[in-house]
């Protein structure tokens, strides 16, 4: 791993709106530069995407963008990020995705010219490779449309580039359901890391070439999936919290390859990436209840530079279209944080303290987001000599913190959850330092029909 030192060592400095290395955008947003912005995400209502419906698809994105920016303007927004996370058809036919970026960018530009409201588009193509099973991560022809969309989409105005890539997911899907922490760690710290190196080298190069911003890649298919499963009580929250920590070594590879942030919202590795690398991050919590329920509604905003709603369909509520309503909710949350920032460190620290304390002892996944725990675990995540060792050390450090917290009586967990802790620790401790030893240990245990080692350079 490239990073050997924390950029932020003082938990008090790991705070919303402020990142050591802020990102400046074309229309003048200064992400992490002293204030928080809203990041609105949205998607289509129930409908199919085909040649007949394309005009309607475009009309939806137009309506969403206009409605959201209009509302942001009325609320004196300091600026907005609009995330365009594509659906299958928009990546498979990149022209469709590019057209949507154009539509959105024109509207962004006109609000900027007419009213001075700055907004930017985060372009997040979906990872097509998983349509082939087992996936051909490096040799698939599906990489072509994906990169076409990246390149033409950024030229059309998609200035921030992200993806939620799925390398390693072939192994993690089952591993999550079995709560097999070793297999999860293998999928993230071996397969995920290698695939991220492959993908992000390319993405960062493209972005450099066109002067765009390589933002980041969150482990949605891993950590967010684990959270949703834990929320349904399908797997222990303790396990989901560990997945989040382990994800860090996978997602940080984007930065190692040149990504500068803002990191994407949905897997919550953000605070770790911010502490270790200093990039600004996007986070989501209570105001993403439209997309999934959350055990970290407040605490997740403690270190956010962008505050996101994850995703909402363009459907009608009593007040109007849902993206407009969510734009408003985000803006009010963000206003509160920005008021505190403006009044100075004492105020923002107090607000952060309240955000943290209101959640921290209610769920293991909240504990993982406490800024002081983030710093402590981050130190463990950068000490070793391999991604594997780092992931294991971070995970064990979290178990340490969890047990301290339980012992202190500040947090309680049901027996069903507690019984997993010693098992998980034991399994983690059995993981060797070296990647090759770990691979040797794991390969015989994994279903060979599920993934192709050579597609990860193994």
């Amino acid at each position: 791993m490239k990073y050997r030192h924390l950029v932020i060592t003082d938990p008090a400095k790991l705070i919303f709106g402020t990142a050591p290395y802020p990102v400046k955008t074309r229309r003048g947003l200064h992400i992490g530069g002293g204030q928080v912005y809203s990041e609105l995400n949205f998607t289509l209502p129930v409908m199919s995407i085909n040649d007949q419906t394309l005009p309607e698809v475009y009309a939806h994105y137009r309506q969403i963008t206009e409605g959201a920016l209009e509302r942001a303007l009325q609320l004196n927004s300091k600026g907005v990020i609009l995330e365009f996370e594509t659906l299958l058809e928009m990546t498979k036919s990149p022209a469709t995705g590019v057209e949507i970026v154009k539509i959105m960018n024109d509207i962004c530009e006109s609000f900027y010219q007419k009213h001075g409201l700055a907004s930017e588009i985060r372009l997040t193509p979906n990872d097509l490779r998983e349509f082939e099973r087992p996936a051909l991560q490096r040799t698939s022809r599906l990489l072509e449309p994906m990169f076409q969309l990246f390149e033409q989409g950024m030229l059309a105005g998609g200035d921030l580039l992200s993806i939620e890539s799925t390398g390693g997911k072939e192994v993690s899907d089952e591993a999550l359901m079995m709560c097999d922490i070793k297999a999860v760690l293998f999928s993230l710290a071996v397969l995920g890391v290698r695939d991220m190196q492959f993908l992000w080298e390319k993405i960062a190069a493209l972005a450099r070439q066109h002067g765009k911003i390589p933002a980041g890649d969150s482990a949605c298919g891993f950590a967010n999936t684990a959270m949703v499963l834990a929320e349904k009580k399908y797997i222990p929250t303790v396990f989901a919290a560990l997945v989040r920590v382990i994800s860090v070594v996978r997602s940080i590879v984007a930065m190692e390859q040149g990504a500068v942030g803002p990191d994407k919202d949905c897997a919550y590795e953000g605070p770790y990436l911010k502490a270790i690398t200093g990039i600004p991050i996007s986070m989501e919590g209570k105001t993403a209840a439209c997309a999934h329920l959350s055990p970290v509604g407040n605490i997740s905003s403690a270190c956010a530079d962008l505050w996101s709603n994850e995703s909402v369909q363009n459907i009608k509520l009593l007040s109007g279209m849902a993206p407009v309503a969510y734009m408003e909710q985000l803006e009010y949350d963000v206003r509160l944080m920005n008021t505190a920032l403006k009044k100075g460190a004492a105020y923002s620290r107090t607000l952060q303290q309240l955000l943290v304390e209101s959640d921290v002892y209610t769920d293991a996944q909240a504990l993982v987001l406490d800024p002081s725990n983030v710093i402590r675990i981050s130190s463990a995540l950068i000490q070793g000599d391999s991604y594997v060792a780092n992931a294991r050390n971070g995970a064990l450090e979290f178990i340490e913190i969890l047990e301290e917290t339980l012992a202190s009586g500040r947090m309680t967990l049901p027996e069903m959850e507690l019984s997993y802790i010693p098992v998980l620790r034991e399994e983690l401790q059995s993981i060797p330092d070296s990647e090759s030893d770990f691979i040797e240990m794991m390969l015989p245990l994994l279903d060979p029909s599920k993934f192709i080692p050579s597609e990860y350079g193994l």
């Binding site: 129930v46 409908m47 299958l88 899907d173 359901m177 999936t225 499963l229 399908y234 069903m416």
Partner: protein
């Protein structure tokens, strides 16, 4: 209940695959589903009885505990594996007609959609209820469902979709099935699906969770 069968029920309920398997710790070294099924057959117990008196009730208990949030998925998966170990012994009797499955359940995630975690859980629980599963995987189109139906006449179909832009494909698939294999019962599910939507596309039943599907199928089979 016969002693061997009650042991087998316990082995499946707690996910003991075979003697050597380390899980669950408190059954360490004891016979698992594998050995107990062999013993039951050796003792002359009818395969159908093994299925009906031990395996299905065991999985019923597991399903109940799961839907009451008393166990996590891994425990349920271990039970499913134990049941699988037992079924391996019983397979020949299905072929020979000595055991009748409850029916066949053809399940798949619809075209354009890759989300299969939910679908897999449903498949597993329906299998646990004594149905034969034909899993079409993800990104499954109408043709593959029709083909599966022509190979398994009378099968019940389950469709899963997680995207607002793929659930609409369910409608198309339902239409084609009802046209080409009239009378086929179709279940639908997945996070964005609802009873209203189910009704609208002409499917027969929606359930927000695997348990509802199992209950519905139980009534269907009886």
């Amino acid at each position: 209940m016969n002693y061997i069968l009650s042991k087998l029920l316990e082995a499946v309920e707690y996910g003991k695959v075979d003697q050597g398997s380390p899980y669950p710790p408190n059954l360490k070294g004891m016979d698992g589903a594998h050995e107990l099924t062999q013993k039951a057959l050796d003792a002359g117990i009818m395969p159908q009885e093994i299925l009906e008196t031990a395996l299905i009730p065991a999985m019923g208990n597991v399903g109940r505990k799961f839907s009451e949030n008393k166990i996590f998925v891994p425990q349920m998966l271990m039970s499913a594996r134990a049941m699988g170990a037992s079924m391996a012994h019983l397979k020949p009797f299905f072929a020979s007609g000595k055991i009748k499955a409850r029916g066949t359940f053809v399940i798949g995630t619809v075209k354009g959609d890759l989300h299969d975690i939910g679908k897999n859980l449903v498949a597993m629980m329906v299998e646990g209820a004594g149905w034969t599963i034909v899993d079409l995987g993800v990104d499954a189109d109408a043709e593959s469902f029709l083909e599966a139906l022509s190979n398994n006449p009378g099968a019940v179909v389950g469709l899963s979709a997680l995207l607002t832009t793929t659930m609409i494909n369910m409608g198309e698939i339902v239409e084609k099935i009802k046209e080409n294999a009239p009378g086929t019962v179709i279940l639908v599910g997945g996070a964005p699906v609802s009873t209203d939507f189910c009704r609208k596309i002409g499917a027969d039943f929606y359930s927000p969770d695997p348990r509802g599907a199992v209950e519905f199928l139980k009534q269907l089979a009886s």
